[in-house]
Amino acid sequence: MTRGLRVLYVENDEALLGLLGNSLAINPQVGLLAKAGGSQQALELAAETSFDSALIDINLGPNSLSGIELALRLRELNEHLGIVLLSQNITKNYLASLPGQFDYGWAALQKSATLSIEHIVDLLHATSLGKIVADPSPEAFTLEVDNLTAQISVRQRQIVGFAATGLDATAIAEQLGLTAVTVRQELSKAYKVLVPNPKPGTDLRTAAVLRFLRETRGLE
């Protein structure tokens, strides 16, 4: 039986430290999780315990080392430590811009509402083995530059507008004097336009309505 990962999590946002820390702690692959609110506490913990990997917020506040500085100091204490940097501003070429010391066992992860614990644990594990994860952000959204609502027909806009109020196809059909089959067909066509690249597991109707509301609100 292999022992679980020993992880050091450094985060100055107490709420995130608690929530993400607890979620990581109960993951079966994690054997030990230590939490630190700043660089000083993290260095003290690292002096006492040999961790496999560290999950470090880059911006640790004004009274602390930055996450990158802390990572370098932790590496001085434990050269085999895997490092996963966590930030709200991870960009595509972020990894290439880091100091040369980060040439093994590290990854950069964007703080995201769609962040999954399994993905974080996978990165922690990979970096503990000395791997570099070059593109760790699996769910980078693309900037919406087109107004897709303008590309659907007037009838489709009417139908999606009713759908946005919570009506189902039958009720919409009654409102517009159409058949339910026609409404479903029009909705289906509208979904293809409004949600051109649906993510697996995402409800098309909800995604389409959200986009419709966002864009029509912008048009007013």
């Binding site: 946002d13 709420a15 995130l16 929530l19 993400l20 979620s23 911006n59 990158i68 709200q88 501003n89 960009t91 070429n93 972020y94 811009s97 880091l98 703080k111 995201s112 509402a113 769609t114 962040l115 999954s116 769910e139 980078a140 959204f141 900037l143 919406e144 993510k199 597991g201 995402t202 409800d203 109707r205 909800t206 995604a207 959200l210």
Partner: protein, 258 residues
Amino acid sequence: MGAGIKSLVGEVFKTWPIRPWPLTAIMTLVVFMVNLAGFSSPVVENWNWVRGGEFLATLPSVFLSFASCLVFLWAGLKLSERYKRQATLIYWAWGVGLGFLITLARVVTINEKTPEVWNYLNSSIRITVSTFVLYLIVHVSLGITGQRLAEQVRVAELARQSLEIQRGKLISAQEDVRRQVADFLHDRLQSDLVLLGMQLQGFIANLNEHDRSVAQAYIDEIERIRQFEVRGVSQQLAPEFAGPYFAPAINNLVARYS
């Protein structure tokens, strides 16, 4: 009323800076006019070339007055600048001295064609006293005017400085507010959205497939709002140029203005 007179007397007897050029110009003009006045009646009523020649004979006194007045006053100015503690003494001595100097300029240019009255002692005394009084009048009037102008300039300069300070404070306050809003968006709101999304992710794990896919769409929307709207505004308000954020910040600025 009494205070006004006292103030006026105080200003008259104040030590004003010596003004060589204005006083020389006025003094020369006065000497010329005084000489001309002595001939105006005969010239107009009984004009002849002999009387005109007599007037020309007075011109050397005008030129001599001009040159001596300018040199004398310039020397007084330099002396008072150099010996500031004796400035009052120099100011008054130069007033008296100028009276004698102008009188002397007239006396040394006396000849057979100059007016007979130039030879009289009481005429010389009148010239001396008049010159001294003119010296005081010119210096007092120029001094008071200059003083008021300087006061207005000082007030205007103070107002300008105050305006600059206020402007600086305004810009600084605007920057502080921008930074606070950006910090709030970056540190608080983005974190809250991340937390909200993560908590929802944990919650939807127990839902049926349809409800989970609906909830996932809302989580995606939360992330879209965080990633583009909140972060975009935060970066526009206070772009971060440190370290690895430099290139993205520049790209954002370029995209914003292109």
